[in-house]
């Protein structure tokens, strides 16, 4: 697969995989034409923080980069979970970066105009809880002026905030862009409206997609905060009741909606998406997903397996390869309808909270290195994996 190396590098392609597994190529700008009256398109309106902050580990004087990765609540502006990197920057592949100096609780990190105090490590020496010192105005100003968007070696040129904000970006709570949303623009929203297709947004704090560390990558995606406005939940429930399809723009929307689904209804409000979506997940709410182009083994690809069969996904992968579709966050797209016979419409699906159904955990020892080849296996949670998840959430 070709990695898209620049934002907005020409028009994006879209492969539409319907419920029968039939496929066709369309221009992504024609996405609205694939929707039907009564459908509802749901997108993640999180704006992306400049979550990469370079500076110095005060006790050792060693260079350090932190990548903000999670927050405990949307109201908590000063405390974050962060992943640490040693010297260097995004132009070096994350897995080749030198480790940071050893970190201890109470250590201070000098990050341009910002000072952060390490509150503790979270089960891994590169995963910490930190607190910024100072008033909220000063901390936000520091992040706004010193922070850079998190980026990876496949995009060497520095990204600006306008590269990583979607047109619909609102609250700055994502740590990497909800990139399927790059396809949306105001004329597409008008086109949807004129076709009788509803549009709604939720806010999901998309976290990091890679840390470069085998053990940490197995814990991805980190627990992610989401908020579903009342109007959004009502519009989705109304569309479903009237036979419309729920179309998720991106995997983060699937995570949020499935975490918030219970008894066949999407609940409004804030929550934390903890589970993975994977082949054994019975989707309670989402019927169609728009996603970037992912390869087998990635957690995003595993999520697609909840929508359709491996045979169809394999055929789609061949078509994507043959037609030079570009992967990564600025690349091309796939739109996948949930296959009619694929773990859907199970009689019990609507009466059991989704969270109890979609228990998927990484299996230790099965993840090969690298951002593109993360292997995830869905399994019943063992006691040890439960402990791991709990410690990932723990914050002092």
């Amino acid at each position: 697969m070709i990695a898209a190396a620049r934002p907005q590098a020409g028009p994006t392609k879209l492969l539409f995989v319907d419920a029968r597994g039939d496929m066709r190529h369309v221009k992504s700008s024609a996405l609205a034409n694939l929707m039907r009256a009564g459908d509802i398109v749901v997108a993640n309106d999180a704006a992306t923080l400049p979550a990469s902050l370079h500076g110095t580990h005060a006790p050792s004087g060693a260079p350090i980069e932190i990548r903000l990765a999670a927050r405990r609540s949307f109201d908590e502006a000063l405390r974050f979970t962060a992943v640490l990197f040693g010297a260097g920057d995004h132009r070096t592949r994350t897995e080749d970066r030198p480790p940071p100096a050893p970190i201890a609780p109470g250590d201070r990190l000098l990050l341009g105009p910002l000072i952060a105090t390490v509150e503790g490590t979270l089960g891994h020496r590169r995963l910490i809880a930190l607190r910024f010192e100072g008033a909220p105005d000063a901390v936000w100003a520091g992040i706004a002026h010193h922070g850079k968007p998190v980026q990876y070696a496949h995009v060497p040129e520095p990204l600006a905030l306008w590269d990583v904000w979607t047109k619909i970006a609102g609250p700055p709570v994502a740590f990497e862009p909800p990139s399927a949303g790059f396809v949306l623009d105001w004329s597409m929203l008008a086109a949807l409206r004129s076709r009788g297709v509803a549009f709604a947004t939720l806010t999901h704090a998309a976290s990091l997609s890679s840390t470069g560390d085998l053990e940490l990558d197995r814990r991805l995606p980190f627990d992610e905060l989401y908020h579903i406005p009342r109007a959004t939940a009502a519009a989705i429930n109304r569309a479903k009741a009237e036979g419309g399809r729920v179309v998720a723009i991106g995997t983060t929307v699937v995570r949020a909606l499935e975490a918030a689904s219970a008894f066949g209804i999407v609940r409004a409000g804030s929550g934390i998406a903890t589970g993975r979506i994977c082949p054994s997940t019975r989707l309670a709410t989402v019927d169609v997903i728009l996603s970037g182009v992912h390869t087998p083994g990635e957690s995003h690809y595993e999520l697609l397996r909840a929508f359709t069969s491996d045979a169809i996904l394999r055929r789609a992968a061949d078509v994507l390869e043959a037609h030079d579709y570009r992967s990564h966050e600025f690349g091309d797209l796939v739109l996948i309808e949930r296959a009619a016979d694929h773990r859907s419409a199970h009689p019990s699906t609507t009466s059991i909270p989704a969270a109890q159904l979609s228990v998927c955990n990484p299996m230790p020892g099965q993840a090969p290195p690298g951002r593109m080849t993360e292997a995830i296996s869905c399994a019943k949670p063992s006691v040890s994996s439960r402990v791991t998840r709990a410690s990932a959430r723990a914050a002092p």
Partner: protein, 242 residues
């Protein structure tokens, strides 16, 4: 008549540019006084700090006339407020000071007026449009108020840079309002009148302040116009008489 309003703005999230001087400052005071959650923008750190302390609003240092400031401003506004219901583009540049006939206006002064009065509001609105549209979808409505001038409509000698930029902003507002009616984002262009402000003193140094409007009176009128454009406010909360 003296405007006295009891408009309750509790929970309304408002951003104001040019918030440390003149009309912008009057707006920050009036909005915070009525319970709105306000973030304001201005160029001078000391003034921002002073007004933030005085009003409890979130103070943000930046220049809407500078391209690279726009996204950091949008980030801080939505970061501090958690979203946005109302954007007031109040920061303005006169262009040449003292005012000059167009033939005597430096190109750079015209560019500066356009950067602050037209391109800046355009950029900032674009960066905040996602947050505003989300507020509209949630039923709270969304308003962008662009502060205009009678110089946007009438041809006054020596007001070329300012007048042309404000005329363009006025038309931009009208077109944007047409385009986003389906999203529920309303655009208002309001002429606040000739006020006793530092900007006016720069333009007309010998004006008698007694003949000029007080900026807080204009602020009340702008807030009433905004409330009238918000579905949640229009129905019940506006009690003031104008």
């Amino acid at each position: 008549m003296e405007s006295k309003t009891t408009t309750d703005l509790s929970g309304l999230r408002v951003a104001v540019t040019g918030g440390t001087s003149g009309l912008g400052l009057a707006l920050v005071r009036a909005l915070t006084g009525r319970g709105a959650r306000v973030a304001f923008v201005a160029r001078t750190a000391a003034a921002v700090d002073r007004i933030a302390r005085e009003t409890g609003a979130a103070g943000i240092v930046g220049d809407v006339g500078v391209k690279d400031d726009i996204y950091p401003l949008a980030l801080q506004i939505t970061g501090r407020l958690g979203g946005l219901d109302v954007l007031i583009n109040s920061a303005s540049s006169l262009g040449p000071v003292p005012l000059a006939a167009l033939g005597d206006t430096a190109c750079e002064d015209l560019e500066q007026a356009l950067a602050v009065n037209l391109v800046g509001p355009f950029r900032l609105t674009k960066a905040l449009l996602g947050a505003l549209a989300a507020s509209a979808r949630e039923g709270k409505g969304a308003v962008v108020l662009n502060v205009s001038s009678d110089a946007a409509v009438n041809a006054y000698a020596n007001w070329g840079a300012y007048g042309a930029s404000k005329a363009a902003l006025r038309h931009l507002s009208a077109i944007w309002n047409e385009e986003l009616v389906g999203e529920g984002v309303r655009f208002l262009s309001v002429d606040p009148g000739d006020m006793d402000t530092p900007l006016h003193a720069l333009a007309v140094p010998d004006a008698d302040p007694m003949t000029l409007k007080r900026p807080d009176a204009s602020a009340d009128e702008l807030i009433a116009a905004i409330a009238g454009a918000l579905p949640a406010m229009k129905a019940a909360k506006v009690v003031g008489a104008f």
